[in-house]
Amino acid sequence: MLLIKCPHCGERPEIEFHCGGEAHIARPLDPSQLDDVQWAELLFYRANTKGVMAERWNHLHGCQRWFNALRNTVSDKILRTYMMGEPRPYIGGEAQGAATGTLSYPAPGERSK
């Protein structure tokens, strides 16, 4: 079980928390302008990082507030927790910037509209 430091309450056992997955995914400013590929990316495509990842946690059975954490998904070690709204901190050694790459879909000739 992880020991997680809520920035508001301090260290608590993992069973008090709910993990909300990848952090810093920007919501669309004008949802009506998104096409199907952009919706697919927003809703379903995730970095699924092996290494240091930023993720959202909710202190569900505590203060009930959301915050972000940097965690190494190989060792499960939480490197830092920080407030919602703060930019993602970078810790020495890790790659900077968002995960690269294009969507694995649409395949040529199969693009539907």
Partner: protein, 416 residues
Amino acid sequence: MTKFSAFNVARNAFSASKSWPKQWRNPEPRASYDAVIIGGGGHGLGTAYYLAKEHGLTKIAVVEKGWIGGGNTGRNTTIIRSNYLYDESAGIYEHSVKLWEKLSQELNYNVMYSPRGVLMLAHNVHDVQSSMRHVYADRLNGVDNEWLSPEECKAFCPPLNISNNIRYPVMGGALQRRGGVARHDAVAWGYARGADRLGVDIIQNCEVLRIDRDAAGTVSGIETTRGYIKTAKVGVVAAGHTSVVMERAGLRMPLESFPLQALVSEPIKPIFPCVVMSNTVHAYISQSDKGELVIGAGTDQYISYSQQGGLHIAAHTLEAICELFPQFRRMRMLRNWGGIVDTTYDRSPILSKTSIPGLYVNCGWGTGGFKATPGSAHVFAASMANDEMHPIAAPFSLNRFQSGRLIDEAAAAVAH
């Protein structure tokens, strides 16, 4: 390679079984292949087997970063069933169960498929309604599934506690009699042996580092820890590491990888005649032929590649097991391990072409893809050979995340 037969088993008994030859070669990678499969689990080895056997491809390699069957194939609780809710799922899982029924003969290798019945328990009104819905949907699809009262559940599985005094009393169960278990390692080994016999090179300790394309954007080769391999067709079948491998081709995937755990107890005499699953209290249990109780737990809530889950997840499952089967309370658990399962939003797999011509992907089997091994491998091989998705595989294309045609087994609450 020697064929397994009663005669050969008897003959080898005279030499204390020391003169059996190696069951597959250990070749050096060649400079180029017609097709390369990345990932030597059951699905990848099976794909290579069917590519060679049914589609006449001769130069095929399976490239595995560790040892074959060392991923989820060798870590799972081996529950096999096809009583899923949706037509598309019934299509692929039932195709698979039909192949399981003949797999030992097909491979000349005993995969110990044992259709001893899978009983899925219902513990509340919602469970009962959902189970009934499954039963009727399955029957429409020609998949066997029947509803049992609590007393009938008890008759089918005598160790089951159906008293009203437990936290989540058993209100009945859905039984698929053709469901059961198989020997996980034997599935990897049987396909490896069969593929090797057809000329497939199985290359272990060989990690794929990069997938390259040529100027036209088509797959041209892969960089590995054992050198460069030229090929125009690549099938990625890397389970929990699919996102990592696909990123090496510059592609993102709609996947998240979570740890999923299992445990086995000390071996005991035969006591447990079937497989019991409860999605509500998170307990999955059967007994192996060695006598161990094989118990499946749930996933952790966060993405991880650590191949170990939190102890509270396993403890939670054991609490449920002890309540449903009180006579197991004093048993000792011998081993506990984790695998990394690749889950999609709708908890259905992905079998698909990608935006890179020549690059195919078979993943997203998450917590429940062992049962699909033969069927998935069979239709994925056909899709790769013909460069067109097999009709059974087609609904599982990546396109569904864009068109919205999800196959929402997540709402239908599947696991294992």
